[in-house]
Symmetry: C2
């Protein structure tokens, strides 16, 4: 298996990525990692890490880099950027998956331009697994920001894709799919949401109806479908809250010596807690709907997060998620009457 990664997509430069790659290769003997980026910058780092001669690390040169402030327009100008080269590796069959770090809009754009969309998909979506009250049973929120203006048919495809992802990669049997709304009653939300409700109801997914924001964490559903605007605001809010709560907990426990000592004694308990809450544990999240495996990670990924993003990519390739999504969408489309009412 060959996994390609954007070696330039880290706020702290390539070293954390290269260390993550080494950690990943240490525990995954079946994989080769293709580093995509500026050869002149990467060579000395590989040498310093003693990886220059590794037969399982390859280097693909890219002369340009997409900056964090670059938008999709800059993608067309930066054809030799690491993110475009990365997507090209998958497009031309030299890699089985791409791991993009950093600029999310650039990653979505490059993957869409290079890999194209799966038949029946009009917009790709970023799927983010969140921890829930049911241990080991995450809730996949889709879309977290690839597509901020969604039509009902986009939401339908999100439900189908996230359901397959939850089943195949996360091991959830018959995932319960909910539509994120302001109340559980059928008529809630605007006309677009009501139409999405009808489409999901008629689809083969295990649709449980409208859900509320609390259901993401309550353990009452396995997939939460929403447009990228809502998903983006919600996920950024909960990520910051979780991080702030962890910091407040630390500060509060340092407020007295006795409390500090107690916290030290309880350190194993805190480790259990941290594992349960840690959003970085997945390392990367899949962009679903493009014709190829694309995993998106943070621009400030630690080596561990990079390792985990590669692990998610490997799992997606092994589980043939994209092929299954493609087949499932094709079977579903074939069973539907021709859809002429909705353009794009």
């Amino acid at each position: 298996m060959r996994l390609a990664i954007d070696a330039m997509g880290n706020d702290n430069g390539p070293p954390p990525i290269i260390r993550g790659v080494r950690e990943f290769l240490g525990t995954n003997s079946d994989a080769v990692v293709v580093l995509v980026g500026d050869r002149d910058r990467l060579d000395p780092i590989l040498a310093a890490e003693g990886l220059s001669k590794s037969p399982r690390i390859e280097l693909v040169h890219a002369s340009q880099v997409m900056e964090m402030e670059d938008g999709v327009a800059e993608l067309r100008e930066k054809r030799d950027s690491s993110i475009m080269r990365l997507a090209k590796e998958v497009k031309e069959g030299r890699a089985d998956a791409m791991v993009a770090l950093g600029n999310t809009a650039a990653a979505v754009g490059a993957a869409t331009i290079m890999l194209r969309l799966l038949p029946g998909v009009r917009r790709p979506g970023i799927a983010v697994p969140m921890p829930t009250r049911r241990p080991g049973r995450p809730c996949v929120v889709l879309d977290m920001g690839a597509n901020t203006v969604c039509k009902p048919s986009h939401l339908l495809a999100y439900g189908v894709m996230a359901s397959l992802y939850a089943e195949r990669v996360l091991g959830v049997e018959s995932p319960r799919v909910g539509l994120l709304n302001v109340g559980e009653e059928k008529g809630k939300g605007n006309e677009s949401l009501r139409e999405a409700f009808r489409l999901l109801e008629a689809s083969p997914v295990n649709f449980i109806g409208n859900i509320e924001g609390s259901d993401i964490f309550a353990g009452t559903c396995d997939v939460a479908v929403c447009d990228g605007f809502l998903g983006n605001v919600v996920l950024k809010a909960v990520e910051e809250l979780a991080s702030a709560m962890s910091d407040w907990l630390k500060e509060s426990l340092l407020s007295s010596w006795r409390s500090k000592f107690g916290a030290w004694l309880a350190r194993d308990g805190f480790k259990v807690f941290k594992r349960r809450v840690d959003y970085a544990a997945h390392g990367g999240v899949p962009l679903l709907g493009v014709n190829g495996v694309c995993i998106i990670g943070h621009g400030r990924s630690s080596p561990e997060a990079v390792k985990n993003a590669l692990r998610v990519a490997r799992e997606s390739v092994k589980q043939r998620v994209n092929e299954r999504i493609r087949d499932s969408l094709a079977a579903f489309s074939a069973s539907q009457p021709a859809d002429g009412a909705e353009s794009d």
Copy 2:
């Protein structure tokens, strides 16, 4: 000062409300509380609590109750419901503020029907103060669900009202007002959000531009303006996450005896943490934009939450928040060209 409260709006019946009222009166000697509800049910509870003869508790009879599943349509049929009677007490000047518990849609509906809106306000909004990384400096999120379909002018009024609330009741000087969006750049979001951006930019509030979900907790703004759909989903999600994280922390610390003992030693630190996170601490949140003080609390409020909701009501009356919002909106409207473009 006379504060009226819906004595029927608790999932566990009137007793927690009546206990909260007693606690509130114990520390606020300048207030009289008017209980609105079924006299036959309330009399024996007041007697059991030894409050029958209290000169600072009055009872107003209401023969009907709005159930949790009742919508605004039922309000018109249940003219003698406790929530309608409650709003009537304020409307007819027999109370300075209403504290509604339970069915939020009913509370918004009753307040809007009875009290009417302030001049220049087209939709009321629920303002929820959230804890932030800056101790003692909350971020007011408005609207959390009174108005799920917002026009730009509604968002403008939300910015003005929440800014005044943050300044007058929460004591924030020159509150920084942000517009909840998927990125900070000026052009983000749909046309409605871009128009709201322009209106807020031209308004007298201290508008800092677009903000992201993370800014609610980051301490970067004091007011986050959004439509009631977004606000509802975000606030329900973060409320459940905060509650789940607290439970996961408890469970994790019980995972070993050493950790359990450590947590016991650190109990004061956890108390500090709890105070910082506790969403129930405010007890109730204001419905802004109606012509009277209306505080909305949970249907499962504890006596402490009821006490705090009454405290918020008292503070709002004392700070003359509504008068100030009315004056400020009037001054602002007078400075604007006539608005003919937008109906309703």
